[in-house]
Amino acid sequence: MTLAIRLSAVALACMAATAFAADPIKIGVDGPFTGGSSSMGVSMRDGVRLAADEINKAGGVLGRQIQLVERDDEAKNERGAQIAQELINKEHVVAVVGYINTGVGLASERFFQDAKIPVMNNVATGSVLTHQFDDQPENYVFRNSANDSIQAPMIVEEAVTRRGFKKVAILADSTNYGQLGRADLEKALALKGIKPVAVEKFNIKDVDMTAQLLKAKEAGAEVVLTYGIGPELAQIANGMTKLGWKVPMIGSWTLSMANYIDNAGPGGEGARMPQTFIQEPTTPKRQSFIISYLKTFAPKNNRMDSPVSAAQGYDSVYLLAAAIKQAGSTDGPKIKDALENLKTPVEGVVTTYNKPFSKGDHEAITANIPVFGEVKGNRVVYAYADDLKKASEVRVKDVNAKGALPTVKK
């Protein structure tokens, strides 16, 4: 090879690189990377990084590289609002992915709505999140996580129909998340004609659940339904061990959090929760996702801290990338239109997104997609062997899927 050819190859490579570097597509990533919800936030961010990396290695979108602008909202509403303004006015992001905490999402999204910048909510589950702007002609908020109006009926279905429990106790934390979830659980129970025998509350950082558990026990509860986050859920499991009273725990997807599993130890085994993704290589896509995640981030014991957050974070970037590609532009309204009418299916980890959104429906996940996970041997596995067997058939969105509570109108 002559020197001239080598030089020109180098020159070409440089030109190509500068063309990419000159104009990256900026995508904002917002989540709690510190504090009590950080295991979800960090897993989500890692999933997002992985997807962006893969897309960039394959040549980017519209021939441009994706550049992530990551911000830590510390699960604080006011911090989220500040970050939203920074992402819009200073960083000029094209779109944003993230939000773990419903409150932070609600506080931040209005800024993006006003700026006509699409938001892909990938973890927060509060039902109202995608309906905040129902009264406006355009809605820039999308979601690819299973919202509470899907999860609550699933929990009730599992407890009442599948496992036949009639006496049900609800334990929920005193945050927005816990109390909105409790309301959804009560609604879903009412549809089955069941009134919970005990409805108890606890605070974040409570270290003793004796009173709550004794009330449930005295009321004759056969099952405890939970809405809370990892550490306190672990205290519930520990409290049951202490009282020598063991009934099944079924609750929202947070029962899969690593800090629940680790802190509850043997007492936490058997807890069940709806999951959009379980760390099992059931399809080639899932397998390659798990392998590259474990290779890149090397989590403890090869267990993702929050597999659901990681998978949904990963998928959210691919959904956006597909929309940008289809729109042929980084213009907010055009990306939104493309999202509402995605022509080519997007193969993700959770599901294959075939027309995931439409103008009136910004929820990519329907009630037929999540499966039940169970804590077993310190990790989350499929609760039902049947689900595992059929896991390789990807469950796709079904707008007619039954089971969701009627949507909350704001």
């Binding site: 510190t34 950080s38 605070n203 003793d208 004796t210 009173a211 709550q212 005295e218 202490k242 130890g265």
Partner: protein, 291 residues
């Protein structure tokens, strides 16, 4: 009846957790009329250092003295940096801000060293409950109660029997007079802070297997313990124990018989009543402040 016993046992266990932390407030108040508002963070640091040591393979019981030494050093540092300057210029409130500030700094350092997640502290005793009078109790809960009483007894004995302890008591009675009698009151105050943080660190490793261990574990506990110190009286060791048990049981009983949503209310109502009726606390000596 069985339920009541269970609630009372859980209340006592919880109350003793509050009491051991409150004890630390009392120690420094006794010598210097100041409090370490970073008490909850001293507890958290003790628990996390203990967890690291256990993770390195150190036996739980061997780890305790090391954590105590660490706690003592940490307390002395707080006194030197945060409290001494305030006392020197006779500032009434400077130490409040500086101990709170140091507490926040410790918390942030802990978040960076140990991460943000709550961690599991391996229990040195079996985790299966024991039947006692028809109620279930965890061995660890008994350890906390016994350990707390022993610790407080040891400090009381020290104060009454040793020359050092007498210096502490003298400083408490009249700081100026003690100084004129040749007692190095500055050193006594440093010492009381060291002792206070040491007891907090010890409390941390004792309660950690029951609660969870993490950078934010001290916040709520420190606040509850403060309420206990006020209810029981900042000058009385006995008051601290009784105050802790009252608060713990009140929380559990309200939670069960009234509503778990109101669990924290009775303690605070009690606090208000005590402040209105007996500002020095249930067992506290009424101090006459000469101006």
């Amino acid at each position: 009846m069985e339920i009541l016993t269970q609630l009372i046992f859980s209340g006592i266990a919880l109350g003793m957790i509050y009491a051991v932390i409150a004890f630390g407030y009392q120690l420094t108040f006794a010598t210097s009329d100041t409090l370490n508002f970073g008490q909850g963070d001293a507890l958290m640091l003790g628990a996390l250092v203990g967890l690291t040591l256990v993770g390195m393979g150190v036996n739980y019981w061997l780890m305790i003295p090391i954590v105590c030494v660490f706690g003592a050093i940490q307390g002395a540092v707080v006194e030197r940096i945060g409290v001494r300057p305030a006392i020197r210029i006779k500032s009434e409130f400077g130490w409040i801000m500086s101990t709170i500030a140091l507490g926040i700094i410790f918390k942030n350092v802990a978040e960076n060293v140990w991460g943000h997640d709550d961690l599991k502290f391996p229990s040195p005793l079996p985790e299966s409950p024991i039947r006692l009078l028809g109620a279930n109790v965890l061995p660890m809960e008994i350890l906390v109660v016994v350990g707390a009483v022993l610790m407080m007894a040891a400090v009381e004995l020290f104060n009454r029997k040793t020359i050092w302890g007498k210096a502490v008591v003298a400083t408490f009675n009249d700081r100026e007079a003690a100084r004129l009698m040749g007692i190095n009151t500055g050193l006594v105050i440093t010492f009381s802070y060291a002792l206070s943080s040491m007891s907090a660190a010890l409390a941390g490793v004792m309660i950690a297997p029951l609660t969870l261990t993490g950078a934010t574990m001290g916040a709520v506990l420190g606040l509850k313990a403060f309420a206990v110190a006020i209810i029981g009286g900042l000058t009385s060791g006995m008051g601290i124990i009784v105050g802790g048990i009252i608060l713990g049981i009140a929380e559990k009983l309200t939670g069960f018989y009234l509503s778990t949503g109101y669990q924290d209310v009775p303690g605070l109502v009690l606090l208000l009543i005590v402040l209105a009726v007996r500002p020095a606390g249930l067992f506290g000596k009424t101090a006459i402040k000469k101006v």
